[in-house]
Symmetry: C2
Subunit: 444 residues, 2 copies
Amino acid sequence: MLLTGTVVVDSTTVIEDGAVAVDGSRIAAVGERADLVDGTRDEEVHSYDVLLPGFVGGHIHSVQSLGRGIADDTELLDWLFDYVLPMEASLSAEEMEVAAKLGYLELIESGTTTCIDHLSVAHADRAFEAAGEMGIRGVLGKVLMDQRSPEPLREDTDEALAESERLIEDYHGAFDDRIRYAVTPRFAVSCTEACLRGARDLADAYDDVRIHTHASENRGEIETVEDDTGLRNIHWLDEVGLTGEDVVLAHCVWTDESEREVLAETGTHVTHCPSSNMKLASGVAPVEDYLDRGINVALGNDGAPCNNTLDPLTEMRQASLLGKVEGLDPTATPARTIFEMATRNGATAAGFDDLGELREGWRADIVGLDTDLTRAVPLHDVFSHLVYSAHGEDVQFTMVDGEVLMEDGEVTVADADDIRRRASEVGLGMDLDDERRAAQAEKP
Amino acid sequence: MLLTGTVVVDSTTVIEDGAVAVDGSRIAAVGERADLVDGTRDEEVHSYDVLLPGFVGGHIHSVQSLGRGIADDTELLDWLFDYVLPMEASLSAEEMEVAAKLGYLELIESGTTTCIDHLSVAHADRAFEAAGEMGIRGVLGKVLMDQRSPEPLREDTDEALAESERLIEDYHGAFDDRIRYAVTPRFAVSCTEACLRGARDLADAYDDVRIHTHASENRGEIETVEDDTGLRNIHWLDEVGLTGEDVVLAHCVWTDESEREVLAETGTHVTHCPSSNMKLASGVAPVEDYLDRGINVALGNDGAPCNNTLDPLTEMRQASLLGKVEGLDPTATPARTIFEMATRNGATAAGFDDLGELREGWRADIVGLDTDLTRAVPLHDVFSHLVYSAHGEDVQFTMVDGEVLMEDGEVTVADADDIRRRASEVGLGMDLDDERRAAQAEKP
């Protein structure tokens, strides 16, 4: 299969009249169109204005998608204990499947080809199956919560770890290695030391299993951890083994100098979630400082209740603009850096060393965009357009592992109308009263 | 003509199965669909998922549209003196018309029905004619610059004011009162006292003429004004008459307590431009504080070189998220407040007291949106969707003064493809070398 258009190979290389040849699940060649088109044979050709590596959502909550808009403009503890945790607690297996599918649908439609996905405590199988069925690449994990958590989200430590291991056995490397596992403690506040250490042991027992958790998102969280352990949060995570090259920490807004040194020295990955950090008023992560230290920083939308979209292009714009105003430096977080965060850095965080750029032999996760739009005129620079004026709707083509998931703006791997209809029914019908009452007992 | 759908009357009232009847240029009735549909007569009916008041761009530079993406990630003085001012200086009358049309096209396509539009020094007629031809409502003004400005933008004070007066005579109230005039000094730095006082005199000589200028956008600007005048910028503007109920000040990022008191006491309008303030790293305007003081705050995209879109929905999201993270308060700048800023507050700033809400007898500036989208599912609350997950592309219908400018996503008042093609040619062909050299003499 041949894809033609302006090819964005990576953050430094653009081929104006280019092409990408795909053979099976891999990129067979990247180059000038004239060199790759072979007029002598019948070849399937797809043409789009711009072709680029698929985006990587470095921190996503697909199964929170039904909570889009349920808790806007709300204090963080209310947001969590009155809405988000009760919602996660309330969803049946079937509803969790609908939520996950809505999330994956939005990701595929807007060009995210890989997600590092923080599921919920229960019914994780439904999300693994949905991701596999819909063809997205994902590093998914069932959530671990064994303290300070409302029923029924709080689990017995050993049972929760055993269930994680069962899921690793069932799904890690499944669907032609498109799906992998991340052991996923919610955050230090809701996990005992035994749980956190158990997460490390579990990840060590398998090749390529990651660890994914929230860290230092807000000030209340780091105060609680310091009260519990006597340590700053990143030091505590380091103490129990939750730093390192296989660890993805979402947020990292509130870190001090010594914690940043730990992140850099251990090769821990950070996922920046600017929309979420702004909407929940968590704070502003020191992204430029992390990048200067050589820390790998990916980009993530977080979940629908705190964003309220999973559009990677909206998130790229947000990351750049927030980075500039934070230090009053308009040269900060420039377009190509943001593009790297959303592609190659995300792939690195997810654990793939042959993903996130369009290179011969690498995995064929490719997105095609339309730029025949008023807000793309004049198109002086493709990175400028992608970061500052493109939207998820511009994505018309999404391919993962050489499989076409969306073509000409139509998702081919799922019945999008049916997913939206079911998600709307379930989402608008949610009654969280019982779960909300139960959660009050644990609300700080 | 009858429009049907979920009707957003204003920031507090939504009619789920509603309708708006339009008679000529005015709204004839707003209510339940069942009450307004008259099955006995043949009536033109347009149905959209959501109907709402058209957005008001409270500070727009339509004629900068060709500079989209020419100066990203750039220091402010370079941005202004190496790119934006040279571009404005370089454009011929015909090129200025193309630039304005590209701007108005983007505004109409994404649902802005009124713009307070800061043109350039020369060729303002072309923008007035373009706005009139394309049917958008606008408060437009030729820019005044008579000091510290590169040739050929710097003009003789009296000639610049005389040309402004000529434009008022020609265009103020033109096109069935869709086009009005704002006397438009660029900012205090580039205008002599005589120019600023002359602007006030000119505005006073005509009914409904506004004054529109930039104010206190960045720290270098307010330092320069203080060096020149011994006064903080807002006090200086107040001193020369550029505060009051007919004055719109864009940005107002750097104001102190006493300046804010002046803004409140004089009834001066402020236009908040969050994307521009973030991308140029100007700072964060104290929007919540202004609103608490009763200052009318509108919302604006500014221009394509510093945004890089004119999408009002993107700007609404940006305003809310920036307001929340600024004071670490997730309840700040909630969705309905942002909606008010983008509609009614903008109309008030523009000088219309019968615009910005869908009310019987008011001007029929109405927008229709599609919500059959994955990122609109589930749709718990229409204001949440509009502010946090809608994009300009969702706008399918745009009406100004009862005239349909866009229907089913197709602009009917201009050849959109032709505008984009010409704008692309001119924009990509711009050679600013001479103008850039000329501008260096004035660069601070």
